[in-house]
Symmetry: C2
Subunit: 167 residues, 2 copies
């Protein structure tokens, strides 16, 4: 099934076109992660630490369970990452004032500095690709990515967007 070689109608794509796009996504994503990986390596940190730092920066004060859902990993896996970030003075974990079971996560100044360094590298690559491809291409890029997410991803993505526009 689904072995269409030619387009049966509007909006269909050839097998070869899809395979080529899958490869493009693979190689592009690899480059996308390679830049921050190099920065993290000198500190002995990994991609998991980067992801935690990124989302804590985007939503300061977010709880552990929100971060858990956003990352889509288990609490044990996240805990190991957070413990390290807190021990290195990059992240601060505050007990909730309303509900004291909750931990609210913030970047320390050192954490914010690292976030900035990582983000600069990643934005440089993405921004460079955007400038090379042009404004129209960027709109298409975003549209395809958003259509490609699964429900969990879409929920997290939307929640992050909402948090940027409070009220």
């Amino acid at each position: 099934m689904a072995e269409r070689q030619t387009a049966p109608g509007t909006g269909a794509f050839s097998d070869e076109e899809l395979r080529r796009s899958i490869e493009a996504l693979f190689f592009a994503y690899r480059a996308f992660t390679a830049d921050p990986d190099r920065i993290l390596e000198v500190r002995g940190l990994g991609r998991a630490h980067h992801r935690a730092i990124h989302f804590i920066n985007r939503q300061p004060g977010m709880t552990v369970s929100t971060l858990l859902f956003t990352l889509g990993i288990t609490k044990q896996a996240l805990n190991r990452v957070l413990r390290r970030l807190i021990a290195e003075g990059l992240v601060r974990s505050d007990i909730g004032r309303g509900d004291r079971r909750n931990r609210h996560l913030f970047l320390t100044p050192a954490g914010a500095a690292l976030e900035h360094e990582l983000s600069d590298a990643q934005r440089a690559r993405v921004g460079g690709a955007f400038r090379a491809a042009g404004t129209d291409a960027v709109a298409g890029f975003r549209a395809v990515l958003e259509a490609m997410m699964d429900d969990d991803g879409r929920r997290s993505y939307a929640a992050l967007g909402d948090a940027r526009r409070p009220g």
Copy 2:
């Protein structure tokens, strides 16, 4: 540096737009890999096996070192993956006829069947996103991805494309 809030000229993008795109890429890529992961899980295989199978399918007869360069991992890491795939009867390794030091890799019928299953799932998600976003968006998507690759990725990506158009 590089903290531009407004567009200084044509083809510049806001900090927020870049950060949002980075998140979109993260969530989309996670969905993109989740589908094949589910299929592989029941066989006890992982993402690394998928990647090897994908590229062997795209370039039947490719040598071990070519695959090594394409994947960007060490020969020890690849060897572990290949050994498993050969043991399970999914991949065949033929001694080179010209240079007997080379090993040429092929999918067996069972390997091709698995490749098809994995590829169907991945093409379904990418194809669905393409149809939802439209033809113009797809062109932009590809343009951005290709501009985002690093040199190694671009080389591998180009080599795969050339191999599809022999002569």
